[in-house]
């Protein structure tokens, strides 16, 4: 059953895109895609340029973390990260000069060889900007022949409109980059996946896509699960993969990531800023803002007229379905942060016993049966048979449960039991 969630996107779509690019201090959290095994490369007192490498992830990915301003390293502090954990951060004082090194301008984006392309998007610190933070170069650094590139512009989570803001403002650059990527990597075709109901985006893309013969739009239905990578690949290529799409010659990139690749290929600029959707009914002016990586979210909120009230706040890094509720607003922007959602704390609603209505079974995109998983929590063997490891933690089972049970937590518990 394709479940449609309420959208809550209008306010941030209608508001013009703004910028907050002058933070006094930035804090680069030493984390990438949930991994804190990061080697720090600077010391207190070092001068850094905008875009220079301040840390690097250990094996096997070795993706660098970049400074988003030029200035001096003040020291190290610990702050909240998007996953709710406290992470060590490099604190840098902004000298507001925006000084860079190695900048260049490359008019034709396709003049790189495949090897150069992989090297440049790696050293520019480009990671998955739809939320995963996975090092993008690793997807292209493969011996397997890639025949399809899928651009994810679905953005199915409610409230989040950061991808829409990038796509609607930079569509020409994005299409130019896609074309270059296809040529450099010898990929035959590209599909841009967009929601059927997102008429504005469909029109924007259609009005520019004419000259790009290898790029086509692929319309997906309006349901929440349609943004799931596995479902996208399955719908577009009609093939299934086991662990990652590379197995069947497919690469999926978020559309914001493509724009970051544009900046890298054209200007040799590292990933130092991104669009974040600041939204929710507890914010005075919800909007999409271009912010630098490492900016304290608190500063941004103050700059956009702040909270409506000072209490009863739930502060979420990410969207309403897959985001994490944090204990304070001491969050720093990271390349994978696409949304800051600030809503009124809702009443704690009582949970009733499970009435076995079966709605969780009907909505699960991974075809799991959460009801049975809940009933068999004691037996790891039975849980394995129920294939709990396939759960993608999308949250639809919790959303739909009439008894207010947090079925997602239940399945997560089951997963940990199976892992042992």
């Amino acid at each position: 059953m394709a479940l449609h969630l309420p959208k809550y996107k209008k306010r941030t779509i209608d508001h013009a895109l703004t910028k907050y690019l002058r933070p006094k201090y930035i804090y680069i959290p030493l984390i990438n895609a949930g991994d804190t095994n990061i080697t720090n490369l600077v010391q207190k007192g070092d001068y850094v340029y905008k875009g220079s490498i301040v840390a690097r992830r250990k094996n096997p990915f070795k993706i660098p973390l970049l400074s988003s301003v030029s200035g001096t390293v003040i020291g190290f502090e610990e702050h909240l990260c998007y996953n709710g954990e406290i992470v060590k951060c490099i604190k840098i004082e902004n000298d507001f000069k925006e000084a860079t090194i190695n900048s260049s301008k490359n008019d034709k984006l396709n003049t790189y060889s495949k090897k150069e392309f992989i090297e440049i998007i790696k050293e520019c610190g480009i990671v998955g900007m739809g939320g995963s933070g996975f090092p993008t170069f690793a997807k292209y650094d493969t011996k397997k022949k890639i025949n399809t590139l899928i651009i994810d512009a679905v953005e199915s989570e409610p409230y989040v409109t950061a991808d829409y803001a990038v796509a609607s403002n930079y569509i020409e650059e994005i299409l130019e980059t896609i074309d270059a990527i296809l040529e450099i990597n010898n990929i035959e075709k590209c599909y841009i996946a967009v929601k059927k109901s997102n008429h504005e985006l469909v029109n924007i893309i259609n009005s520019h896509i004419g000259t790009y013969l290898k790029v086509k739009i692929f319309l997906v239905d309006d349901s929440y699960a349609s943004g799931w990578e596995r479902m996208l690949v399955s719908k577009i290529t009609k093939e299934e993969y086991k662990i990652h799409p590379g197995e069947i010659g497919v690469i999926v990139n978020n559309i914001s990531t493509i724009y970051a690749i544009y900046e890298a290929l054209k200007y040799n600029r590292g990933l130092t800023e991104r669009i974040v959707t600041f939204t929710g009914d507890m914010l005075k002016v919800p909007q999409n803002i271009i912010v630098k990586v490492g900016t304290p979210v608190r500063d941004v909120i103050d700059a956009i007229e702040g909270y409506k009230r000072n209490k009863d706040i739930t502060f979420i890094a990410g969207g309403p379905m897959m985001g994490t509720s944090l204990s304070s607003d001491d969050l720093m922007v990271t390349p994978n942060l696409n949304c800051v959602l600030i809503i009124k704390k809702s009443k704690d609603e009582e949970s009733l016993p499970c009435i076995r209505c079966g709605k969780c079974v009907e909505v699960c995109p991974a075809k799991l049966s959460p009801v049975l998983i809940k009933e068999n929590l004691k037996s790891a063997e039975k849980l394995q048979k129920l294939q709990v490891e396939k759960c993608i933690e999308c949250g639809l089972c919790s959303y739909v449960c009439p008894s207010n049970l947090n079925m997602r937590e239940c399945v997560k518990l089951a997963k940990s039991k199976v892992r042992g």
Partner: protein
């Protein structure tokens, strides 16, 4: 200083809660309750067969049963489970055993027996299993089985209300076609009670609330639209009964009226839509629901030619309630690999065909005139 609270995600929730589903269920029952009042209270009153008490008796009947159920649950919670639940908070969930019990019993059921039945439905059908969500048998049907058994033992089963008993000799062939030696003809099965339209609207003898097929169908669409019902179960259940009885009729040369009559009579529509779909006791996975419906159909048709119709349905549902967990196990696997359940479905289809052929053979003599004729009494 900002007051920020941590909460577990997801942070948006569907508005369709259990309370909404229960309320929608009650709303869908309103036309049925009103019709039962019309047929068993207003019509007899209008024709001078009862007094004012008799006029509102159907409503009293239902209220007594509902009240007994609610009180039983409340006292069980307070005295035995030692929970401090208020009467009001559990009210919405505790009405249903009593409500459905009253609707599926004949109006002639003695009130004292109804009260005991509602008590038994709540205790043995629901509370001893652990209350809401834990019972493995449909509570109202547990009570129903008890009451009907008592009525049979007392020799007191009578489905005709005070008005119907003056215009119809008896409802035996309608309630219990098993007594017929043959499949039955239109003249014996339908004509004594009107036409098939009467069966659709519900002005035929039967239990208090199960006769009106029309309002049950309206309720089905309403509840499916409001996402408060396991819609596959009634669809497959009724469909299976129709197909099997169609073959029985076809092999005996009777027309489409026969399967139509079969699905419009005996309270099948009500039972299929309200009782077989009880969320707690029916399967949760889609393919298991289909197998559940098919099995119910086969069992119901089989029982129809052996024991009175409504009781056959009650027993079929209670049997399948017992198999729900097993079916769900298979259904969960079938979500990944449909082949695991497709064999079961195929077996069911063959079984359905076999049943229809068997019954057609056993009851195949149409032309022998029926000994117990049920002519309209002037």
């Amino acid at each position: 200083m900002k007051e920020i609270h941590i909460k577990e995600g997801p942070f948006i929730k569907s508005a369709n809660k259990v309370q909404n589903m229960m309320k929608n269920l009650l709303i869908s029952l309103i036309p049925i309750v009103l019709f039962s009042f019309y047929k068993n209270g207003y019509l007899p009153f209008k024709h001078g067969k009862t007094d004012i008490i008799g006029l509102i008796y159907p409503l009293i009947f239902i209220l007594v049963s509902v009240f007994t159920s609610c009180l039983t649950e409340y006292f069980y919670n307070v005295l035995i489970k030692k929970e401090k639940k208020s009467f009001k908070s559990n009210l919405l969930f505790s009405v249903f055993p009593g409500l459905f019990l009253a609707l599926t019993l004949p109006i002639n059921t003695p009130i004292w027996l109804l009260i005991i039945g509602a008590f038994i439905a709540s205790i043995f059908g629901k509370m001893i299993w652990g209350g809401l969500g834990n019972n493995k048998l449909n509570p109202a049907l547990v009570g129903n089985l008890f009451v009907i058994l008592m009525l049979l033992l007392m020799g007191n089963v009578n489905y005709l209300n005070s008005y119907e008993s003056t215009i119809i000799a008896d409802a035996n062939s309608l309630v219990n076609p098993a007594t017929l030696n043959v499949i039955g003809t239109y003249e014996t099965l339908v004509a004594p009670y009107g036409s098939l339209w009467n069966f659709l609207i519900g002005t035929v003898p039967g239990a208090l609330g199960t006769t009106s097929v029309l309002f049950c169908i309206i309720a089905y669409f309403y509840l499916t639209y409001k996402k408060a019902l396991k819609w596959r179960i009634p669809l497959v259940y009724i469909g299976t009964v129709f197909i099997i009885t169609y073959f029985i009729g076809f092999l005996n040369g009777v027309g489409l009226w026969y399967p139509t009559f079969q699905i419009l009579s005996g309270g099948l529509m009500f039972m299929a839509i309200f009782m077989a779909t009880d969320p707690v006791t029916s399967p949760t996975t889609p393919t298991a629901q289909v197998v559940y419906g098919m099995s119910l159909g086969i069992l119901t048709v089989l029982f129809r030619y052996i024991i009175p119709v409504s009781n056959g349905i009650v027993i079929s549902i209670l049997i399948m309630n017992g198999l729900t967990i097993l079916l769900d196990k298979i259904g969960a696997q079938a979500r990944f690999d449909f082949k695991k359940i497709s064999i079961l479905i195929l077996v069911e289809m063959v079984l359905a065909l076999a049943v229809s052929i068997y019954i057609a053979e056993v009851k195949n003599n149409l032309s022998v005139p029926n000994q117990e004729s049920n002519l309209l009494q002037e």
